[in-house]
């Protein structure tokens, strides 16, 4: 079971990383979004998969009666989801502002911080 999901996770990673290597900010952002999902699924699978038994203790019991899905990865992923969502929101706005100010969404044309041919150190004394 884990193996098949692992292959899907591999696909998530491959797609995310292919998008990230693009020059266009939009594609990079899509890549970041997918990367976040890929990682969450990876953590989820890493804590082993179990079908349909949510980690909730029934009203009548003090401890769960049967084997339940591993709750810890779920908690970790919840934390990670919110964090990656925050970052995505920030990046989206950043990309938008960069586009406004720099007039491009092609990272190769974003050369304000590192202008082309700027490495000309002064010589002499």
């Amino acid at each position: 079971m884990e193996a098949t999901v692992s292959v899907l996770i591999g696909l998530f990673f491959a797609v995310a990383i292919y998008l990230l290597m693009s020059r266009q900010l939009v594609r990079i952002l899509l890549g970041i979004a997918i990367l976040g999902n890929a990682v969450n699924l990876l953590i989820f699978t890493s804590g082993r998969l179990l079908r349909e038994v949510p980690p909730i203790i029934p009203e009548a019991l003090q401890v769960p009666a049967e084997t339940i899905a591993n709750p810890l990865p779920q908690a970790l992923i919840l934390t990670a989801i919110v964090i990656s969502f925050s970052f995505l929101a920030f990046l989206l706005v950043l990309a938008f502002r960069a586009y406004q100010e720099l007039g491009t969404d092609d990272t190769n044309e974003m050369r304000v911080a590192e202008p082309t041919g700027d490495v000309r150190p002064p010589q002499g004394y």
Binding site: E2, A3, T4, V5, S6, L8, L11, F12, F13, A14, V15, I17, Y18, L19, M21, Q24, V26, R27, L30, A33, I34, N37, N40, L41, F44, G47, R51, V53, P54, P55, I56, I57, V63, P64, I68, A69, P71, L72, Q74, I77, L78, T79, I81, V82, F85, S86, F90, L92, V93, L94, F96, Y99, T104, N108, M110, E114, P115, T116, V119, P121
Partner: protein, 796 residues
């Protein structure tokens, strides 16, 4: 720390630093007359060390020490013996007159106070260097001399030549210092000792060690650069850009001798090996010849003296390198003589420059009437330099010839080198002492007259000491030279010094020959100068030029490296990062052989396959999306598919959150992306796409394989078992995930909400703050905006 005895060494070494602090204030109050009270500091230090002379001459040595960094075994400690006492006496004694001289020389200079400060800092550093016992302490003072000399050489900082000379000195001596540091650390590792005195007592440990050659190379790296040995000699003449007091003090009498000091100091444990007696005489001899020949070429008084300083240092290294007792006696005597006459002559040169306005020897002449005292001092010093009796320079020459000629077998090459070098030094001495003063009066830029007492006190006293130490040769030998030689050889040895040669032998003939050769060459000085000039022009390249080329080369190379690794293109950064990531996953997996071997077909239900298929389809759709809308919708599809996967595998909370987050993401994406355009086609050329696909697939396959491998192993559910057991019983919550979030691992959540809060503020800061734009930028942006609009229109 007591005020008397060897403990007071601490005070003696630290006193100049204190003087450095008060010097600017004092100078503000007293102007150039501050030199008088300030000179009391080195004078007192001189008297203190002079007081130690009788004991030291009796064979005593002191090692006062206090803990400094005991965690690393570093002590702040000094080693007072014959060798260090002589150096301390020279530094403080000559220093006294240099301080006075500085008072006169920089009279009225707006930064005279700062100058005094630098000089005192240097003096303290130099004292610490020659007295340092702990190797780290010694090294620190060694580097301090480099730093302070950097500041002093560049004192006249508005001139490019000064700045260049300062950098050059810092790089050459600083680089050598690093070599020395490594050498010291290896010595400490080999001998297990941190103190010079203990290292010196370690006998043959270093010589027998397999690391001897390394240690020697590293120590010589430090000594040769500091003492300006060929091919590192070039920085010293350039350092003449500094004001003359600096040249007189640092670059003749003291700092440049630090390297010689180190060689002499370490001779008992490093010397007298085949390597030592080969390398040192060769480099020393070469330096002697190069120095004198280059000196002849010069017409500037200071430069002539500077090159002979290089030559003298070469001579000292050569003598130390023979490891012959007599030669070392000669070296000790020459060391004393050189410090005295060279200090005096530099001050004379400075006085001439100061009073006449030039130090070009071809534009000087007939100053004897105008500057009689200076002339007299110059003559006395020059006679010592020429090696004529009755001066200490003469005695030194006698001993060194005896040493070389009569050491462990006559060495013709060394003797010839020494004779030629000394003859040329006589030429320079004569030129410096006679040319400006004798002959017809030449018009000089300033109307020359005798300088004030501050200026001539130094030359007069130093040259007289040169005379006196020769006349009192026996005492000099017992009190000064004997202890020094004992230190260098590492065994107590008494040196019987006398002015009049005890027998007519090779040394005397060589002396006479030197003088004769020197006189002949002096008479043909102009021809000689023209000849060397032609020779050097023919060669056309020297280490000095090489230095510029090296620095320029380093800078250009750096620029090339930086352009290559940091080209400014995000695409390259990302590709490199992921290439490395791929390697980081695949290489260890391959090496450790952890690729999964088998793959069992899982027993998925059809709807589970369906969800997986939707996720995959969503991913592919994002990849090939040509419009914003398709991309956003596809992104949503894969996101919801992930939520469904969470739901299928028992994570309702996650699923719920994923749905919400994905919805909000899509909404924000839609709000933001309406202005960002998605190019309909992947812009990448085929080759890049192929390369990127390979990298992406490699990483994907790597993570998949790794995950399969990890999940196929048994799992330790200890943590989750604990949470299940206590979620309700202690933490009163049935939703275990939520209990983990707010209780078991609440700290994570605290950090996480901090992230969320800051994100909100970040977005505000991004949207609300409008940059102040310069007119130029605004114009540029307006143009960019136009271009953008045109592109949009064209697409529509």
């Amino acid at each position: 720390m007591s005020l008397i005895g060897s403990e007071a060494t601490f005070i003696a070494v630290l006193a100049p630093f204190a003087a450095a602090i008060v010097a600017p204030t004092l100078t503000r109050l007293l102007a150039h007359n501050a030199a008088w009270p300030l000179a009391l500091v080195p004078a007192a230090i001189f008297l203190f060390f002079a007081g130690l002379v009788p004991e030291v001459a009796g064979g005593a040595s002191f090692t006062p020490a206090v803990d400094w960094a005991p965690a690393y075994g570093v002590t702040f400690s000094f080693f007072v013996d014959g060798l260090s006492t002589l150096f301390a006496l020279l530094i403080s004694g000559i220093g006294t007159f240099i301080i006075l001289y500085s008072g006169g020389y920089l009279k009225g200079h707006p930064q005279q106070g700062r100058f005094f400060s630098f000089m005192f800092l240097f003096m303290g550093a130099m004292l610490g260097l020659v007295l340092g016992n702990d190797l780290i302490t010694l090294f620190i003072f060694w580097e301090l001399t480099s730093i302070t000399s950097f500041l002093l050489i560049g004192f006249d900082h508005l001139r490019a030549a000064s700045r260049r000379a300062a950098i050059q000195a810092l790089v050459v001596t600083g680089g050598g210092g690093l070599s020395l540091l490594a050498g010291f650390l290896v010595i400490m590792a080999v001998t297990g000792e941190a103190n010079m005195s203990a290292v010196l007592a370690s006998g043959d440990t270093l010589r027998d060690s397999g690391l001897y050659a390394l240690v020697l190379a590293l120590v010589l790296g430090g000594a040769f650069t500091k003492s300006a040995q060929f091919p590192f000699h070039f920085w010293l003449p350039n350092a003449m850009e500094a004001p003359t007091p600096v040249s007189a003090f640092l670059h003749s009498a003291t700092m440049v001798k630090a390297g010689v000091y180190l060689l002499m100091r370490m001779h008992p444990v490093l010397g007298d090996t085949a390597l030592w007696t080969t390398i040192l005489p060769v480099f020393g001899g070469a330096t002697l010849l190069v120095g004198t020949i280059l000196a002849v070429r010069q017409t500037d008084l200071k430069l002539m003296l500077a090159y002979t300083t290089v030559a003298s240092l070469g001579l000292l290294v050569m003598l130390t390198g023979t490891s012959w007792e007599k030669a070392i006696e000669g070296a000790a005597l020459y060391l004393l003589a050189h410090s005295l006459f060279k200090g005096a002559l530099f001050m004379v040169a400075g006085t001439i420059d100061h009073e006449a306005g030039t130090r070009d020897i071809t534009r000087l002449g007939g100053l004897r009437k105008a500057m009689p005292i200076t002339f007299a001092a110059a003559c006395l010093a020059a006679l010592s330099m020429s090696g004529l009796p009755p001066f200490v320079g003469f005695i030194a020459k006698e001993y060194l010839y005896t040493g070389i000629w009569g050491g462990a077998g006559a060495n013709y090459a060394l003797t010839a080198t020494a004779v030629l070098g000394n003859a040329l030094m006589l030429v320079i001495a004569a030129a410096v002492a006679l040319k400006p003063f004798l002959g017809p009066k030449v018009e000089t830029p300033k109307h020359a007259h005798e300088g004030p007492v501050l200026l001539y006190a130094g030359p007069v006293v130093l040259s007289l000491v040169g005379l006196a130490s020769a006349l009192l040769a026996h005492d000099t030998g017992v009190l000064v030279i004997g202890p020094v030689v004992s230190s260098i050889l590492g065994v107590p040895s008494a040196v019987d010094v006398h002015l009049v040669p005890t027998h007519i032998g090779a040394a005397l003939y060589l002396s006479l020959g030197t003088i004769a050769l020197g006189v002949v060459l002096f008479l043909r000085l102009d021809a000689l100068r023209a000849g060397t000039a032609r020779l050097l022009t023919a060669i056309g390249w020297g280490p000095d030029k090489g230095f510029d080329q090296v620095i320029a080369g380093i800078v250009s190379f750096s620029a090339w490296v930086t352009r290559t690794v940091q080209g400014g293109r995000m695409e390259v950064y990302m590709t490199m990062t992921f290439l490395i990531t791929a390697a980081a996953i695949l290489v260890p997996m391959t090496v450790a052989g952890t690729w999964p071997t088998g793959f069992a077909m899982p027993d998925f239900r059809f709807y589970e396959w369906g969800v997986l298929a939707i996720a995959a389809a969503g991913l592919v759709a994002v990849l090939i999306a040509r419009t914003r809308l398709t991309a956003i919708v596809s992104l949503g599809i894969q996101g919801f598919a992930v939520a469904l996967i969470f739901m299928l595998f028992g994570a309702p909370d996650l699923s719920f959150t994923q749905f919400m987050v994905e919805t909000l993401s899509v909404v924000i994406l839609a709000l933001v992306m309406t202005r960002l355009n998605l190019q309909p086609r992947d812009h990448r050329p085929m080759a890049a796409r192929l390369c990127h696909s390979v990298i992406a697939l490699a990483i994907g396959a790597g993570f998949a394989g790794l995950l399969i491998q990890i999940t196929s192993a048994p799992f330790d559910r200890r943590l989750s078992d604990f949470f299940e057991a206590y979620s309700r019983t202690i933490a009163h919550g049935r939703n275990i995930v939520n209990v983990i979030l707010v209780d078991f691992r609440g700290f994570d959540t605290l950090g996480e909400i901090a992230v969320v809060m800051v994100t909100g503020l970040c977005v505000l800061a991004l949207i609300r703050v409008r940059p102040k734009r310069s007119a130029e930028e605004a114009l540029d942006l307006a143009a960019g905006g136009d271009a953008l609009r045109k592109r949009e229109e064209a697409r529509v």
